[in-house]
Protein backbone atom coordinates (compact mmCIF):
# COMPACT_ATOMS: atom_id res chain seq x y z
CA UNK A 1 0.00 0.00 0.00
CA UNK A 2 1.30 3.41 -0.97
CA UNK A 3 1.59 6.18 1.57
CA UNK A 4 -1.67 8.13 1.78
CA UNK A 5 -1.61 11.91 1.36
CA UNK A 6 -3.77 13.83 3.83
CA UNK A 7 -5.23 17.30 3.46
CA UNK A 8 -3.13 18.49 6.42
CA UNK A 9 0.06 17.44 4.55
CA UNK A 10 -0.64 19.92 1.75
CA UNK A 11 0.37 23.59 1.76
CA UNK A 12 -0.50 26.49 -0.57
CA UNK A 13 2.19 26.67 -3.25
CA UNK A 14 3.32 23.12 -2.48
CA UNK A 15 4.62 20.94 -5.28
CA UNK A 16 2.90 17.85 -6.64
CA UNK A 17 5.32 14.90 -6.95
CA UNK A 18 6.42 15.13 -10.62
CA UNK A 19 5.86 12.27 -13.05
CA UNK A 20 8.21 11.70 -15.97
CA UNK A 21 7.05 10.14 -19.24
CA UNK A 22 8.44 9.25 -22.60
CA UNK A 23 6.41 8.58 -25.76
CA UNK A 24 7.51 6.27 -28.55
CA UNK A 25 5.76 5.41 -31.80
CA UNK A 26 5.18 1.93 -30.31
CA UNK A 27 3.54 3.47 -27.23
CA UNK A 28 1.22 5.53 -29.44
CA UNK A 29 0.07 2.39 -31.26
CA UNK A 30 -0.59 0.82 -27.85
CA UNK A 31 -2.56 3.92 -26.87
CA UNK A 32 -4.59 3.68 -30.10
CA UNK A 33 -5.53 0.13 -29.14
CA UNK A 34 -6.19 0.93 -25.48
CA UNK A 35 -8.22 4.08 -26.09
CA UNK A 36 -9.85 3.28 -29.44
CA UNK A 37 -8.49 6.40 -31.16
CA UNK A 38 -7.18 5.02 -34.44
CA UNK A 39 -6.57 8.37 -36.14
CA UNK A 40 -3.56 7.70 -38.44
CA UNK A 41 -2.24 11.17 -37.52
CA UNK A 42 -0.58 9.46 -34.55
CA UNK A 43 1.23 6.57 -36.27
CA UNK A 44 1.40 7.17 -40.06
CA UNK A 45 4.04 9.58 -41.37
CA UNK A 46 2.51 9.97 -44.86
CA UNK A 47 -0.90 10.80 -43.36
CA UNK A 48 0.64 13.23 -40.86
CA UNK A 49 2.50 15.01 -43.68
CA UNK A 50 -0.73 15.26 -45.69
CA UNK A 51 -2.56 16.69 -42.66
CA UNK A 52 0.06 19.44 -42.47
CA UNK A 53 1.45 18.28 -39.14
CA UNK A 54 4.67 16.94 -40.69
CA UNK A 55 5.12 13.85 -38.57
CA UNK A 56 3.08 11.73 -36.17
CA UNK A 57 2.26 13.54 -32.92
CA UNK A 58 1.42 12.37 -29.41
CA UNK A 59 -2.35 12.03 -28.81
CA UNK A 60 -3.76 14.87 -26.72
CA UNK A 61 -5.81 12.30 -24.83
CA UNK A 62 -2.66 10.38 -23.84
CA UNK A 63 -1.15 13.58 -22.42
CA UNK A 64 -4.46 14.13 -20.60
CA UNK A 65 -4.15 10.67 -19.00
CA UNK A 66 -0.52 11.38 -18.01
CA UNK A 67 -1.80 14.43 -16.11
CA UNK A 68 -4.62 12.38 -14.58
CA UNK A 69 -2.03 9.83 -13.44
CA UNK A 70 0.01 12.69 -11.95
CA UNK A 71 -3.03 13.46 -9.80
CA UNK A 72 -4.16 9.91 -8.90
CA UNK A 73 -0.58 8.94 -7.95
CA UNK A 74 -0.33 12.00 -5.72
CA UNK A 75 -3.72 11.77 -3.96
CA UNK A 76 -3.47 8.03 -3.25
CA UNK A 77 -6.22 5.44 -2.91
CA UNK A 78 -8.38 7.57 -0.62
CA UNK A 79 -8.16 10.79 -2.60
CA UNK A 80 -10.79 11.71 -5.17
CA UNK A 81 -10.15 13.61 -8.39
CA UNK A 82 -13.20 15.89 -8.52
CA UNK A 83 -12.47 18.22 -11.42
CA UNK A 84 -9.87 18.13 -14.15
CA UNK A 85 -9.13 20.17 -17.26
CA UNK A 86 -6.28 20.50 -19.73
CA UNK A 87 -5.60 22.12 -23.09
CA UNK A 88 -3.40 20.70 -25.85
CA UNK A 89 -1.50 23.89 -26.75
CA UNK A 90 1.51 22.50 -28.62
CA UNK A 91 2.38 19.33 -30.47
CA UNK A 92 4.67 16.71 -28.97
CA UNK A 93 6.69 14.33 -31.13
CA UNK A 94 7.20 10.67 -30.15
CA UNK A 95 10.58 8.93 -30.33
CA UNK A 96 11.09 6.48 -33.18
CA UNK A 97 11.98 2.87 -32.35
CA UNK A 98 15.62 1.79 -32.84
CA UNK A 99 14.99 -1.86 -32.01
CA UNK A 100 11.87 -3.86 -31.12
CA UNK A 101 12.17 -2.65 -27.53
CA UNK A 102 14.38 0.44 -27.49
CA UNK A 103 13.60 3.90 -28.82
CA UNK A 104 16.15 6.33 -30.16
CA UNK A 105 17.22 9.13 -27.83
CA UNK A 106 14.74 11.92 -27.57
CA UNK A 107 12.52 13.97 -25.41
CA UNK A 108 11.36 13.18 -21.90
CA UNK A 109 8.24 14.95 -20.67
CA UNK A 110 7.66 16.05 -17.11
CA UNK A 111 4.18 16.23 -15.63
CA UNK A 112 4.17 18.77 -12.82
CA UNK A 113 1.80 20.65 -10.58
CA UNK A 114 1.44 23.16 -7.81
CA UNK A 115 -1.18 23.69 -5.09
CA UNK A 116 -3.01 26.99 -5.61
CA UNK A 117 -5.61 26.79 -2.84
CA UNK A 118 -6.74 24.51 -0.02
CA UNK A 119 -10.17 24.88 1.55
CA UNK A 120 -13.10 23.08 3.11
CA UNK A 121 -16.32 22.93 1.06
CA UNK A 122 -19.14 21.50 3.20
CA UNK A 123 -17.43 18.45 4.67
CA UNK A 124 -15.05 17.96 1.71
CA UNK A 125 -11.37 18.83 2.21
CA UNK A 126 -10.47 20.27 -1.19
CA UNK A 127 -7.23 21.27 -2.93
CA UNK A 128 -7.03 23.25 -6.19
CA UNK A 129 -3.93 22.76 -8.35
CA UNK A 130 -2.33 24.11 -11.49
CA UNK A 131 -0.91 21.23 -13.52
CA UNK A 132 1.08 21.05 -16.74
CA UNK A 133 3.34 19.02 -19.01
CA UNK A 134 6.79 20.33 -19.93
CA UNK A 135 8.60 19.06 -23.00
CA UNK A 136 12.34 18.38 -23.16
CA UNK A 137 13.04 22.11 -23.68
CA UNK A 138 11.08 23.03 -20.57
CA UNK A 139 8.20 24.50 -22.61
CA UNK A 140 4.65 23.92 -21.35
CA UNK A 141 2.71 22.09 -24.07
CA UNK A 142 -0.27 21.02 -21.98
CA UNK A 143 -1.49 23.27 -19.15
CA UNK A 144 -4.40 22.31 -16.92
CA UNK A 145 -6.16 22.53 -13.58
CA UNK A 146 -7.40 19.98 -11.07
CA UNK A 147 -9.45 19.95 -7.89
CA UNK A 148 -9.07 17.00 -5.54
CA UNK A 149 -10.71 15.91 -2.30
CA UNK A 150 -8.30 14.46 0.26
CA UNK A 151 -8.93 12.55 3.47
CA UNK A 152 -8.39 14.60 6.64
CA UNK A 153 -6.71 13.37 9.81
CA UNK A 154 -9.40 14.80 12.08
Amino acid sequence: MKKQLYWEDVADGGEITPLSKIATTAMLVRWAGGSGDFNPLHYDKVFAEGAGVGQPIVHGALKRQWLIQLMTDWIGDQGWLKQFSCQYRAMDIPRAMRTMTDPVDGETWLCKGKVTKKYIDGDAHCVDCDIWIENGKGEITTPGKATVILPARN
Binding site: R30, A61, Q65, W66, Q69, Q87, Y88
Partner: protein, 164 residues
Protein backbone atom coordinates in the same frame (compact mmCIF):
# COMPACT_ATOMS: atom_id res chain seq x y z
CA UNK B 1 -19.91 31.78 -40.15
CA UNK B 2 -23.72 31.93 -40.32
CA UNK B 3 -24.40 32.59 -36.65
CA UNK B 4 -28.07 31.68 -36.86
CA UNK B 5 -27.46 28.23 -38.30
CA UNK B 6 -24.83 27.54 -35.67
CA UNK B 7 -26.90 28.80 -32.75
CA UNK B 8 -29.64 26.38 -33.81
CA UNK B 9 -27.21 23.49 -33.37
CA UNK B 10 -26.13 24.45 -29.85
CA UNK B 11 -27.87 22.23 -27.32
CA UNK B 12 -28.70 19.57 -29.93
CA UNK B 13 -28.10 15.91 -29.14
CA UNK B 14 -25.23 14.22 -30.94
CA UNK B 15 -26.26 10.79 -29.76
CA UNK B 16 -26.81 8.38 -26.89
CA UNK B 17 -24.54 5.37 -26.54
CA UNK B 18 -23.96 2.52 -24.12
CA UNK B 19 -20.53 1.54 -22.86
CA UNK B 20 -19.31 -1.70 -21.34
CA UNK B 21 -16.53 -1.34 -18.76
CA UNK B 22 -14.52 -4.57 -18.82
CA UNK B 23 -11.74 -5.41 -16.40
CA UNK B 24 -9.38 -6.33 -19.27
CA UNK B 25 -10.15 -3.12 -21.13
CA UNK B 26 -9.33 -1.10 -17.98
CA UNK B 27 -5.98 -2.88 -17.69
CA UNK B 28 -5.10 -2.33 -21.36
CA UNK B 29 -6.00 1.36 -21.04
CA UNK B 30 -3.84 1.73 -17.92
CA UNK B 31 -1.01 -0.17 -19.68
CA UNK B 32 -1.17 2.28 -22.58
CA UNK B 33 -0.87 5.22 -20.15
CA UNK B 34 2.00 3.49 -18.36
CA UNK B 35 0.01 3.63 -15.11
CA UNK B 36 0.83 0.76 -12.73
CA UNK B 37 -1.74 1.76 -10.06
CA UNK B 38 -3.00 -1.52 -8.52
CA UNK B 39 -6.53 -0.09 -8.15
CA UNK B 40 -6.82 -0.49 -11.94
CA UNK B 41 -5.34 -4.00 -12.30
CA UNK B 42 -4.91 -6.00 -9.08
CA UNK B 43 -8.18 -7.67 -8.04
CA UNK B 44 -6.98 -8.71 -4.57
CA UNK B 45 -5.65 -5.23 -3.86
CA UNK B 46 -8.83 -3.60 -5.16
CA UNK B 47 -11.03 -5.90 -3.03
CA UNK B 48 -9.16 -4.77 0.08
CA UNK B 49 -9.31 -1.09 -0.89
CA UNK B 50 -12.27 1.08 0.10
CA UNK B 51 -13.57 0.77 -3.47
CA UNK B 52 -13.98 -3.01 -3.03
CA UNK B 53 -13.40 -3.78 -6.71
CA UNK B 54 -11.31 -2.77 -9.74
CA UNK B 55 -12.07 0.79 -10.84
CA UNK B 56 -11.23 2.54 -14.11
CA UNK B 57 -8.74 5.42 -14.21
CA UNK B 58 -10.64 8.73 -14.35
CA UNK B 59 -11.13 9.44 -18.06
CA UNK B 60 -11.85 5.82 -19.08
CA UNK B 61 -15.50 4.96 -19.66
CA UNK B 62 -15.22 1.60 -21.43
CA UNK B 63 -16.00 0.62 -25.00
CA UNK B 64 -19.29 1.26 -26.80
CA UNK B 65 -21.80 -1.58 -27.19
CA UNK B 66 -23.99 -2.32 -30.23
CA UNK B 67 -21.73 -0.55 -32.72
CA UNK B 68 -21.24 -1.99 -36.21
CA UNK B 69 -17.78 -3.45 -36.86
CA UNK B 70 -15.17 -0.85 -37.73
CA UNK B 71 -17.24 2.14 -36.61
CA UNK B 72 -15.22 4.97 -35.10
CA UNK B 73 -15.13 5.22 -31.34
CA UNK B 74 -15.23 8.99 -31.40
CA UNK B 75 -18.54 10.80 -31.70
CA UNK B 76 -18.99 12.22 -35.20
CA UNK B 77 -20.27 15.75 -35.65
CA UNK B 78 -23.88 15.90 -36.87
CA UNK B 79 -24.62 17.10 -40.40
CA UNK B 80 -26.53 20.13 -39.00
CA UNK B 81 -23.23 21.27 -37.47
CA UNK B 82 -20.84 20.27 -40.27
CA UNK B 83 -23.03 21.91 -42.97
CA UNK B 84 -22.64 25.52 -41.79
CA UNK B 85 -19.02 24.88 -40.75
CA UNK B 86 -18.11 23.66 -44.24
CA UNK B 87 -19.93 26.61 -45.82
CA UNK B 88 -17.71 28.87 -43.72
CA UNK B 89 -14.60 27.12 -45.07
CA UNK B 90 -13.89 24.81 -42.13
CA UNK B 91 -12.50 21.41 -43.01
CA UNK B 92 -13.07 18.30 -40.94
CA UNK B 93 -9.57 17.14 -41.97
CA UNK B 94 -8.03 20.00 -39.97
CA UNK B 95 -9.78 18.92 -36.75
CA UNK B 96 -7.47 18.71 -33.76
CA UNK B 97 -8.22 17.80 -30.18
CA UNK B 98 -8.19 21.07 -28.22
CA UNK B 99 -8.61 19.90 -24.67
CA UNK B 100 -10.86 18.27 -22.11
CA UNK B 101 -12.70 19.18 -18.92
CA UNK B 102 -14.08 16.58 -16.54
CA UNK B 103 -16.32 16.61 -13.50
CA UNK B 104 -16.07 13.27 -11.72
CA UNK B 105 -18.92 12.33 -9.37
CA UNK B 106 -18.67 8.54 -8.82
CA UNK B 107 -16.13 5.80 -9.51
CA UNK B 108 -16.47 3.69 -12.67
CA UNK B 109 -16.21 0.00 -11.70
CA UNK B 110 -15.22 -3.00 -13.79
CA UNK B 111 -18.56 -4.55 -14.82
CA UNK B 112 -20.43 -1.25 -15.05
CA UNK B 113 -22.60 -0.43 -18.05
CA UNK B 114 -22.62 3.30 -18.73
CA UNK B 115 -25.01 5.34 -20.83
CA UNK B 116 -23.56 8.47 -22.43
CA UNK B 117 -25.54 11.38 -23.83
CA UNK B 118 -23.66 13.96 -25.89
CA UNK B 119 -24.83 17.44 -26.86
CA UNK B 120 -23.25 20.33 -28.78
CA UNK B 121 -22.45 22.60 -25.84
CA UNK B 122 -20.91 25.53 -27.71
CA UNK B 123 -19.41 26.65 -31.02
CA UNK B 124 -17.10 29.66 -31.00
CA UNK B 125 -14.98 31.33 -33.65
CA UNK B 126 -11.66 33.01 -33.03
CA UNK B 127 -9.14 34.66 -35.34
CA UNK B 128 -5.56 33.78 -34.57
CA UNK B 129 -2.18 34.03 -36.29
CA UNK B 130 -3.03 31.17 -38.63
CA UNK B 131 -6.40 32.61 -39.65
CA UNK B 132 -9.87 31.73 -38.47
CA UNK B 133 -10.37 28.89 -36.04
CA UNK B 134 -13.50 27.33 -34.67
CA UNK B 135 -13.83 25.71 -31.24
CA UNK B 136 -16.53 23.07 -30.99
CA UNK B 137 -17.41 21.88 -27.48
CA UNK B 138 -19.28 18.61 -27.02
CA UNK B 139 -20.58 17.79 -23.55
CA UNK B 140 -21.09 14.16 -22.61
CA UNK B 141 -22.95 13.01 -19.50
CA UNK B 142 -22.27 9.49 -18.24
CA UNK B 143 -24.79 7.59 -16.10
CA UNK B 144 -24.18 4.13 -14.65
CA UNK B 145 -26.57 1.15 -14.65
CA UNK B 146 -28.24 2.49 -11.48
CA UNK B 147 -29.03 5.77 -13.22
CA UNK B 148 -26.50 7.65 -11.08
CA UNK B 149 -24.45 10.49 -12.58
CA UNK B 150 -20.85 9.29 -12.90
CA UNK B 151 -19.11 12.05 -14.85
CA UNK B 152 -19.44 14.95 -17.25
CA UNK B 153 -16.91 15.55 -20.01
CA UNK B 154 -16.51 18.64 -22.17
CA UNK B 155 -14.27 17.92 -25.15
CA UNK B 156 -13.13 20.74 -27.40
CA UNK B 157 -12.19 20.29 -31.05
CA UNK B 158 -10.42 22.97 -33.08
CA UNK B 159 -10.97 23.33 -36.82
CA UNK B 160 -9.17 25.74 -39.14
CA UNK B 161 -10.81 27.69 -41.97
CA UNK B 162 -9.49 28.20 -45.50
CA UNK B 163 -11.39 31.47 -45.93
CA UNK B 164 -9.97 34.66 -44.45
Amino acid sequence: MPAEEISQVIGKSVGVRMFEVERGAIRRFADAVGDANPLFRDVDYAHKSHYGDIIAPPGFFGWPLKQPMGSPLVVEFPAELMGPLMKAGYMAATALDGGMEYDFFLPVYAGDTLTSSTIVKDVRERTGRGGKMCFIILETTYLNQNGDLVAKARASTIMRSLSA
